[in-house]
Structures are given as C-alpha cells and as structure tokens.
Symmetry: C2
Subunit: 376 residues, 2 copies
C-alpha cells in the first residue's frame, strides 16, 4: 500500500460520513481520526507512554518549530522524529506555512517563498516550497504537507484569489520536490485546498489540486475566525468534489461539536491544540459538557472529572484534588488535564467510528449532544 493511501470501510447511509483506514509506513490509522498536536515534537505535558495509553494513533508536529529547534540535523541524526520523541507511531508534519505567517510580523513573501525571523532569536530564515519539503523529509513524518499560505480571515476576494493561486503554484513545486527521490516510499504528501470563504475560489483550488494529484487532500484556512456556518458551507461545497478513495483532512479543527459536524460532511482527519491548550487553562471536556476545574464549585467535589472516562486522571484523582493543583500552580495539573482532554477526544472519535460501523451516526450524534449540553 502506498503511504498515505485511503480505503473506505463503510459509508454512512445517512450522510457523507465514512469509516475508513489510512495506510502509513508506521501503521494503519482508523478514520475518522483525531490527531493530538505536538508542536515542538511533543504533545505538551503528556509523556509518550500516556499518549500511547490514550489510544491516539497519529500525532502532529510542526516543521517550523522543529526546524528552528532542535534543528532538522538533530532529528535526522536521531533517525527521524518518531525515534527522537519515542512516539514510534505514525506522525504528520505541518509544512511550516501557517507558523511562518502567523508568528512573524516581519516576513517578506514573494513568488519564490517567504523570508521570516525566528521567534526564538530573531535570526533570518527563508522557506520556499522546496525548502519546506526538504525539512519535512529530514524530520521524517509519515505524512507531510504542501507549503502554502494559510489565507487569513477576514480577507477580500482579491487577496484570497491571489493567495490561493500562489498556493497552487507552490503545491506543484512541492510535489516536484517531494518526488525527486524515493521519499514517497515511506512518506506521503498531501495537498491543501485554500480559497477562504469564497465558493468559486474553493472549487477552483480543489479542481487544480486534483489536477496536480496528491495521495490525500487537506482543507486549510478554516477555523481561523470565520463563523461556523461558513466552515460547514465550504465543506459541503468542496467535499463532494474530492475523490472517495483519498483521505480528507480538515486542518486545525476542532472542538467536540466540530468533529461530529465535519465527519457528517465527509472529513476523515482532524488535528487541534485545544485538548492541551484548554488543559493548561484548567478547561476540561466531559461527557456532560465543558467545565473549568479552577472554579470554586469543585473545591470539595470528590468525584472524578468525568464519570464516563477511564483515563488515568479520572480513575486516579478527584475534581477537588485537581482544583487544588490548579490553584496551587502545581505543574502536574498541566499533564493530568491535558491527558484527560486527549483521552476525551480520542474516545469521542472512537465512538464516532463505532456509530459508523453500525450505521447509526445521526442517532449517536444526537445522543452525544443531549448529554454534552445537559450541564447548562
């Protein structure tokens, strides 16, 4: 099987959702899948031991961050990112495009690529499509992404059009660079559909991406501030154009409600920093809705975070103790809350797959939300 190739296992009879598998060098991933994010090569606060126990099947890392620190040379010498960080399972690297644009005030973009300053030491660097692919080859993740411009929101039609077209030209260069050697035998390159919220631009981007041809397709530039309805509309317009035998990855999404809504519209892969970022703020997902464990109401609540959850945090500690850890600024809470949130998302996806296996997606979705919104 080619790395990154996709196989439908069962299609929903109710909607565009599908159960499937993505084949990679380091293992087969069940889809729909949620990918925890390890920006700097590590999922913040969570050891690989706990990450494995959560049932996570693939995690994300970021080329921009790893390129700057520890540097691709170190990772290459370690034998690749999966050896470096002891994860040893499938990984995906973002191209660095999003970070080059979002973390840098002083960046210069031209046809060839983008000059940017390191957010660490201010040193100057240049990423072209070719450079990003080289960096991602060195990092060695199973799935690598095209270098593109993540079009900001809001943006006018003209900017969105130019940006989308630039990303298309860069996508061609990425593909050329990627297939220059035999990396494709162990790595997969995904293309990214852009076009902001403009329907015709999205369609154009999707069609041209298909013309270039990739082993999988991502939808980028969503969940960047636009209303949720726009995101759903884009998916409804684009996904029917994408081939059924390729994986579809919605970048940077999302919340529990997004997973249901976007799987329903045909998405197979998700990534989001929310589980760990929320964990660091005391925000916790539970089957009964979101809570902030720092709140006074939990000070003497000796029940687990989520009575439905079997994660080490829920089986090991009470809300009262976690409330104490957050208030006492004990860093252990970072790990315990992040770990729980990751378990929550991984488990949610596992339940979504189960509903697809039994073709009861919509009923399961309704049941989930009845419970999830029951606290408020």
């Amino acid at each position: 099987m080619e790395c990154g190739s996709y196989q439908v296992i069962r299609k929903s009879s109710e909607c565009r959702a599908r159960l499937g598998k993505v084949y990679t060098t380091r293992g087969v991933i069940d889809t729909p899948i949620f990918m925890p994010v390890g920006t700097q090569g590590t999922v913040k606060g969570v050891s690989s031991e706990f990450l494995h126990s959560s049932g996570a099947q693939i995690i994300l890392a970021n080329s921009y961050h790893l390129y700057l620190r520890p540097g691709t040379e170190v990772i290459k010498k370690a034998g690749g990112i999966q050896k470096f960080n002891s994860w040893n399972k499938p990984m995906l690297t973002d191209s660095g495009g999003f970070q080059v644009f979002s973390l840098n005030d002083i960046r210069k973009i031209n046809e060839n690529g983008t000059e940017f300053q390191s957010h660490i030491d201010g040193s100057k660097h240049f990423f072209s499509p070719e450079k990003s692919i080289q960096v991602q080859k060195d990092i060695g993740a199973d799935i690598v992404m095209c270098f593109d411009e993540c079009t900001p929101y809001p943006t006018d039609y003209e900017y969105a059009k130019n940006s989308m077209e630039l990303s298309l030209r860069w996508a061609k260069r990425c593909k050329e660079e990627f297939y220059k050697d035999d990396s494709y035998k162990t790595q997969a390159l995904f293309g990214i559909v852009q076009g902001s919220i403009y329907n015709d631009l999205r369609i154009k981007s999707a069609q041209e991406m298909l013309n270039i041809g990739f082993v999988g397709y991502a939808i980028g530039g969503l969940s960047v501030g636009e209303p949720k309805e726009y995101m759903h509309l884009v998916l409804e317009n684009i996904l029917p154009l994408l081939p059924e035998n390729k994986a579809r990855y919605l970048m940077g999404v999302g919340m529990p409600e997004d997973l249901w809504e976007c799987v329903e519209r045909g998405i197979d892969m998700f990534d989001c920093v929310i589980p760990t970022r929320n964990g660091r703020n005391g925000q916790v997902f539970t089957s009964f809705g979101k809570i902030n464990i720092r709140n006074a109401e939990f000070k003497e609540d000796f029940s687990p975070l989520d009575s439905d959850c079997n994660c080490p945090t829920c089986t090991g500690y009470s809300r009262a103790y976690l409330n104490h850890l957050v208030r006492a600024q004990e860093t252990l809470y970072l790990s315990l809350l992040s770990l729980h949130n990751i378990y929550f998302m991984v488990n949610l996806m596992s339940n979504i797959r189960k509903s697809l296996r039994n073709d009861i997606f919509l009923k399961s979705k309704q049941e989930f939300f009845e419970k999830y919104y029951s606290r408020n």
Copy 2:
C-alpha cells in the same frame, strides 16, 4: 505494632548504620529510606502512578502549605491526605514550623506560638504547638512532627539556647495535645532535636526529648547552610544518645553523598526537595555524577540520562530529546527529570539497604563514589 515504631533488622559490623523497618498504619517502611517531598500534597510534576512505580514507600507533605491551601477542612472531608492525593501509602507531615519561619518576614514569635502572614494572600494566622498538632491530625498523615523553631544558621549561642529550650517546651505541649484523643492509634508523633551546631545544646535537647519520650526522633536544623563537617559532628555526638529501638530522621537532607555519610552515622530516614527542585532546573543525578541536561554537549547525545537506570525517562527518552524539551521550555521535562531524580534516590537507598543486608556497607559506599565522581 504502634504506628511509627521501629525495628532493627541488621546492624552494620563496620559503622553505626542499620537496616530496619518503621511500622505505620498504611504500611511498613524499609529503612534507611528516602522520602520524596510533596510540599503541597503532591510531589512536583510526578503523578502518583509514576511515584508508585519508582518504589517510593513514603512521601512528605507540609502542614503550613496544606493548611493555607486547600485548607485542612477539604482534606479532612476527602478522608485524609492519602485519599486526597491518591497516594494511599504512608505519609509524613512536617509541622509547619520551618515554613512559618522561613517564608515569613512579618512573623511574631512568643511563648504561645507564632503569628504569621500567608505567603498567598497576606492573611494573618497563628500556629501554636496545639494548632499545628490539630492541623496535622486533620491532614491525617501516618507520622506527624512536633512544632518547633528550626534554628537558623549562623546563630549565636544565646539565641540557639533559647530557641532550643522554647522548642523543648513546645514539644511537651505537642505531646500533650497529640495524646488527647486516640489519634495515636493511627498516627505517630516524632520529637525533634535542635541546638544548632553547639554540642552541649544538642546533647541537652536530645536528653530532654528522651525524657519527654517520643515514638521516633528527628534531627532538625541541619543542612541549613552550615559546613558539612558540622552536620557530621552533630550526628556523631547525638546519635549514640538515641535509643536503638527508635527511628532517627534527619530532616531536609540530602544529596546522594549525604545519604551515604549520614546512614553511616546511624540515620534511618531522610527527606529532601532536591530531586524535584534539581529536575526543574535541568540538573540530573546519574550513576556517573551530576549533569545539567540543558548543556550543549547533550544536544546530539542519543544515549539515556543514566545507562544504569530503569526509570521511564531513561528507558523512554534520549539525552538529546530531554535537552530539546528543556530548551524548548516544554513542561514535560519537569516531570521526566524529576521522575528520574526520584528513581535515582529511591534506587540509591535500595542499594544502601542491600549493602547493609550483606554487611558490605563501606565497600559499597566506596564503589558508589568511585563511579559517581568518575565524570569529573
């Protein structure tokens, strides 16, 4: 067996070291023992799951910190500190004396006790010997300590004498308060020998403590800045006075070398924040000496922290990866390095006990140091 009672298993034929057991409500502790410190009820950065796996048999918590946050009421309602923090094994609480004196500029000390301000919100509180014992009963640790003044170093003879005598009067009141109800059936009260570096004061303190009579004895006010030789001299002078059938606990000590030196002089119990505090600074103990993992020399070092260590950090990650985590300020390093250092100390103590079991303490000590100092 009375909680806190001690039994000699084997005495060294070479020195004052002894192998023994301390009996507590929640389990039997093998001595000599190193107790990791969980100041606020949690060993910083280390989950109870990992703590258990390290082989730690007893941990410490601090009455001052727990009294202020989350408050003894919460811990009492949880069913005691061991339930609150999910440790479920023996614990010891410090009396709060050390913190009242060291964390407070604006404290007023008189015969009755000490007024102090919370380091959290500036609120005023008062700890008397009776109050400290009440707080420690509510917290519910297996071993609780007398409320005393930890005499600072350096200090003149007069201050040290008055301070030691005040601590003696307080020790009597602590004992009275402790035995007022049947707490002694599940908790043990230890007395603390003070007297700074003055030999006659130390002897007086020890004799008077014996007259009051406790189930175990601690040596306080050492490792507070005085030269190591003074600490050794105090131990050499005091320990022969203490009964062989009672545990001897050296408070706030120490480094790996201290464990060997003080076990040799007859100490059974130790506690120290060094493993976790060093961990947070990137400082790591190894069989071959101390290293700081942040150093550039480890950037491409793909070997484990300590090739002799079986902790999850050493079996799971390389020095290069840990170097990356520290430099990238990924909080995961706090957990991984603290965990390793705790394993190191627990394992070191296990080796010390083994040497006592085989009556080869001095030979083992020499071998340890030959290796430990081999890096430099």
